[in-house]
């Protein structure tokens, strides 16, 4: 039996033959000892050259710019391959590894390769060649955030595509709540101003020279397009208070996997006629067409006027479509992405008039006409005497997740999904039914002769029977042509719960914006995001913030600005997952305790100048004014409002004057630019920063002999050592870590 071994996979492009520009991708497999995978592994029966002299040296740190946190973590390192016999010379001669993914795993050679753990997933920057070896320079996936955040540009075609003067310019983006932003005049002759190229949650106020305009008489709003339209020529500069939406179903649908999003709360997405020409404007109108907000073109419609649901608004102000239970239903205009080949998901926010006594009602249905509604998918009521069920079915057998317990009166979010290995039914974020196929079997779904996805009814042999129409309210729906990941399920359910008024929608916080940018703008796959880290970040810092972008900006610069404002850090883990966190002092049990047994070397370090001596005062900004206006304001603008408009931001202060008695050179750092909406949140952040940096802190560099690649940035550890303040053990946070798999040592820098 051997100890842990390291294994690396390095794909590289290879110039084949003399065909300049024709590249193939090949893959290098190497380990620190010769190793062959077994026949069932992935890759099967593959030899790993025993040439990995240095499996991985990698360093990750959140220290930067003289500060402990507030920026991206940066990870870099190298891998060394033995090339003393020229084995890899072809790689140096005509191959290229830069930008290719590199994976390093550890395991015991007696294990199956697929059971090995990934300790690094990153990319290569290039190769350094020596006579005896190749040094692959590696770094984390930070480059994935080095792209422009805007992917939508004005084409100059007019309307929402902008005037010709705007051609080629990026469209603005609004994340969360921002005050007094200057929207882009996209279409001058139509008085169309764009606030954001992604949907808005609300437009709270529109100002002309600082004077408030009225909704309806002064302007109209299109939340879906992120625009306002003035109804009269403005007197001067137009500014807006608005909330850009984040973590909507768009974050799940952006991955190019198809799907559809029906947003009833966005009236501007609905039409009263078919083909769609007249937009809905008020409650009481019958809805003939609803635009799919996913961008996938999977709209829903109802061509028969008498069968159209009515747009209504409940007592809490939430919009819904009212289905009469007689003949109302909607049907998808296209079958695309609902082929079942990868599964299906239907998530609906719905309130039936009666959850208990109705029979054979389908809320969502997709059937195969050849076999009637016994073959297909639906979320329904009282199917087979069940109160609620979700089914993926074939001709002779339903694969059904169901419950016989009727749901309580009121609105519920129901999710039924299948990955073809089973069917899961959830209500209000709780699983209420499940069906699982036998081991390794898949649900045998026949895709022949489909009927388009329907809302409010299910066809039986192409005919909808009386009594099977839904009677109740639809607040929103999202469909996917696959099963959701857990994090995606959370996004969908949270969104629909708020759409139906079951739970209030939380204000947009920093974690929401980071996740939105990661999923939608950086186009990271769900598998590249550490959802647990983001959820913890969301709990750590739930305060409402807002950030507006109206010029070219990078993803990384945007994330850095947001994280600096909340005293956090972000970056990719060694295993390639995007993480984000608030930098805090230890408040939880340590994940490891190290004593003289593990400590090979220890050194007390000088603290960064910004906190040495400690801070006696911290200032944190809030209510950022995105358009400073000192003049050309309407006469009606109050003195208080003028004062707000003249200043960039408000400031919350936390200070400890007594500290100056002990530390006569105590420091007063510059104002922290933050994007909090509320003073209390900024004050809390200022006090939090004082609690960290207004105290006397210590920083150590420690070389440890411990199991490699188990520690990471942000981990809390306890150091016990017979010197300094460590004699009885003290907790620290890891802020830098450097590991070398050659000798299995970890060098960490800790702060506490």
């Amino acid at each position: 039996m051997f100890g842990f071994q390291a294994f690396a996979e390095v794909p590289y492009s290879f110039l084949t033959g003399e065909h300049v520009g024709i590249y193939t991708e090949q893959r290098i497999y190497a380990a620190n000892m010769g190793y062959i995978t077994n026949a069932t592994a992935n890759p099967p029966s593959t030899y790993f050259e025993g040439r990995l002299d240095v499996p991985l040296r990698f360093e990750r740190s959140v220290i930067g710019g003289g500060a402990i946190a507030g920026q991206a973590s940066v990870g870099f390192g190298d891998i060394e391959l033995n090339n003393s016999d020229g084995f890899y010379d072809n790689l140096t001669n005509s191959g290229a590894v830069d930008g290719r993914q590199i994976t390093v795993k550890v395991g015991i050679d007696e294990f199956n390769y697929s059971d090995f753990g990934v300790i690094f997933s990153g990319t290569s920057k290039g190769i350094a060649v020596t006579e005896n070896g190749l040094r692959l320079l590696v770094r984390d996936f930070g480059y994935k955030l080095d792209n422009p955040i805007q992917s939508e540009f004005y084409s100059g075609a007019g309307g929402i595509d902008g005037d010709v003067e705007l051609k080629g310019k990026p469209k603005p983006l609004l994340f969360g709540k921002a005050l007094n932003i200057s929207p882009v005049l996209a279409y001058a002759s139509g008085l169309l101003y764009q606030i954001s190229s992604q949907p808005l949650r609300s437009v709270d106020a529109v100002y002309d020279r600082g004077a408030l305009l009225s909704l309806g008489t002064g302007y109209t709003v299109n939340l879906s397009q992120g625009t306002i339209t003035l109804l009269t020529q403005p007197a001067g500069q137009i500014t807006v208070d608005a909330v850009g939406d984040t973590i909507t179903p768009l974050a799940v649908l952006a991955g190019g996997m198809g799907g559809s999003w029906i947003d009833i709360s966005d009236i501007s997405s609905m039409y009263t006629d078919y083909p769609p020409t007249i937009k809905a404007t008020a409650t009481g109108q019958s809805i003939a067409y609803i635009t799919d907000k996913s961008g996938n073109g999977l709209h829903f419609y109802q061509p028969i006027p008498s069968c159209r649901p009515l747009l209504q608004q409940d007592g809490s102000g939430h919009y819904y479509l009212d289905f009469d239970g007689i003949d109302d239903f909607l049907v998808a205009v296209s079958e695309a992405s609902f082929s079942f080949t990868a599964g299906i998901t239907a998530a609906v926010a719905v309130r039936l008039d009666d959850w208990a006594t109705v029979d054979q009602v389908s809320i969502v249905s997709k059937s195969i006409s050849a076999f009637g509604n016994d073959s297909g998918y639906d979320i329904g009521l009282n199917h087979n005497s069940k109160a609620v069920s979700a089914r993926v079915a074939m001709e002779s057998a339903n694969k059904e997740a169901a419950t016989t317990t009727a749901l309580a009166a009121g609105a519920h979010v129901l999710v039924g999904y299948s990955n073809l290995k089973g069917v899961i039914l959830r209500a209000d974020k709780t699983q209420i039914g499940a069906y699982y196929q036998s081991y390794q079997a898949l649900i045998d779904y026949d895709t022949a002769g489909t009927v388009n996805l329907m809302i409010g009814a299910a066809p039986s042999d192409g005919i909808i029977a009386a009594g099977e129409y839904m009677s109740g309210r639809l607040y929103g729906a999202v469909f996917l042509g696959r099963a959701p990941k857990n994090a995606e399920l959370t996004i969908l359910e949270n969104y629909l719960m708020s759409a139906a008024g079951i739970t209030a929608r939380a204000p947009v916080c920093a974690a929401d914006i980071i996740e939105q940018i990661a999923r939608v703008h950086a186009k990271l796959a769900d598998s590249e995001i550490d959802s647990a880290s983001l959820n913890l970040f969301r709990q750590q810092q739930p305060a409402e913030i807002g950030y507006y972008i109206d010029s070219q900006a990078d993803v990384s610069a945007t994330m850095t600005a947001i994280m600096a404002g909340v005293g956090g850090w972000y970056g990719f883990s060694r295993s390639g997952l995007l993480q984000a966190s608030v930098f805090t002092m230890p408040s939880a049990p340590s994940v490891f305790e190290f004593t003289e047994i593990e400590i090979l070397e220890i050194e007390r370090l000088l603290l960064p100048e910004s906190i040495n001596p400690p801070n006696w005062r911290r200032q944190v900004g809030y209510q950022k004014n995105w358009t400073i206006q000192n003049n050309d304001l309407a006469g009606i603008v109050t003195a208080e409002r003028r004062q707000f408009l003249a200043n960039d931001q408000r400031v919350a202060v936390s200070q400890d004057a007594n500290l100056l008695k002990r530390h006569r050179l105590a420091t007063d750092p510059e104002l922290t630019t933050s994007y909090f909406s509320n003073e209390a949140d900024a004050q809390a952040e200022a006090e939090r920063l004082m609690s960290i940096y207004g105290a006397e802190r210590e920083m150590y560099s420690v070389v440890l002999k411990t199991q490699p690649f188990v520690l990471d940035i942000g981990n809390i550890i306890t150091l016990t050592y017979p010197r300094w303040t460590l004699t009885s053990g003290k907790q620290f946070v890891i802020i830098r870590i450097s590991e070398d798999a050659t000798d299995n040592k970890s060098e960490i820098t800790v702060f506490g």
Binding site: F2, G3, S45, E596, I599, L600, K705, N744
Partner: protein
């Protein structure tokens, strides 16, 4: 009947230009040509026995019945073999092996036939060695292996002619394991071990080589293999556990031949096992 003194071989005929190996079966990513690579860990792997329908078999065609010495240009017409070894095998103690040698590709007439016999493999050492009673000259060879395992693996094939001195190496030879594990000591004095692979190392000293053995034997070994080509050392040809007494590896240190007395030559070697 061969002598009981050490055997050393440094010209592995399967490494010649033009040699082709064919196996009864192989995994595409682990072909039988892996038996020609220097790293024992890089193996040929057969398909499962049931899939290929019989015992495992390797056919060797030396391509020519002779070759030109690459330095002198002299024709060497006889490719003599008196030892066949498979290194890095996964055979069990139940493995049996058979050899056939012929100048006819159909093996209609045989130069040599070694019927199925116990391969005498100790799984700790992973070496199967067949020592032929005399040198056999043939272009075509066939190795059969039967075992209770489903797939057969081997890392290196050795087919060579051995040098065997009349007088064995001197008493006091050394053999042991070199452990690549690393140990670090912490501030508290505790030792931390990174467990690594181990390989065998043997040191032998010849004190009674004849002039012929010195100049045409060990000095030739130094010329051809030096510190860069693998050699086979069978320390005790009649050992009950032949794998335990056989090393395939590189010479890590040697000495020049010394003539301390008239007609008597000394020479020492240190050999490290290939993994």
């Amino acid at each position: 009947m061969t002598a009981s003194t050490v055997k050393m071989a440094w010209v592995n005929h399967v490494d010649m230009q033009g040699v082709t190996l064919t196996a009864s079966s192989e995994i595409a990513t682990l072909p039988v040509s892996n038996l020609l690579t220097p790293h024992v860990a890089k193996k040929w792997r057969s398909q499962e026995e049931g899939a290929k329908g019989g015992d495992h078999q390797i056919d060797i065609d030396f391509g020519i019945s002779g070759y030109d010495d690459f330095e002198t240009g002299d024709p060497v017409t006889d490719i003599g073999v008196d030892v066949v070894a498979l290194i890095g095998v996964n055979m069990t103690r139940n493995a049996r092996i058979r050899l056939e040698a012929s100048r006819d590709p159909s093996f209609a007439s045989l130069e040599y036939y070694y019927d199925f016999a116990d391969a005498n493999v100790d799984p700790r050492f992973k070496i199967a060695v067949v020592q032929l009673p005399s040198v056999v000259i043939a272009r075509y060879w066939r190795i059969y292996v039967t075992d209770s395992i489903f797939t057969l693996e081997a890392g290196r094939l050795v087919m060579a002619r051995c040098f065997q001195p009349a007088v064995n190496f001197t008493y006091g030879y050394q053999i042991g394991y070199v452990d690549l594990s690393r140990v670090a000591r912490s501030r508290g004095g505790q030792q931390h071990v990174d467990e690594g692979n181990s390989y065998r190392q043997a040191q032998i000293q010849f004190d009674f080589l004849t002039e012929l053995e010195a100049f045409e034997g060990v000095l030739e070994l130094d010329r051809v293999a030096g510190l860069h080509d693998d050699i086979l050392v069978i320390l005790e040809p009649y050992a009950a556990n032949i794998g335990q007494k056989t090393i395939w590896g590189l010479v890590s240190a040697n000495s020049p031949i010394i003539e301390p007395n008239f007609g008597i030559y000394n020479k020492s070697y240190s050999v490290e096992e290939r993994l």
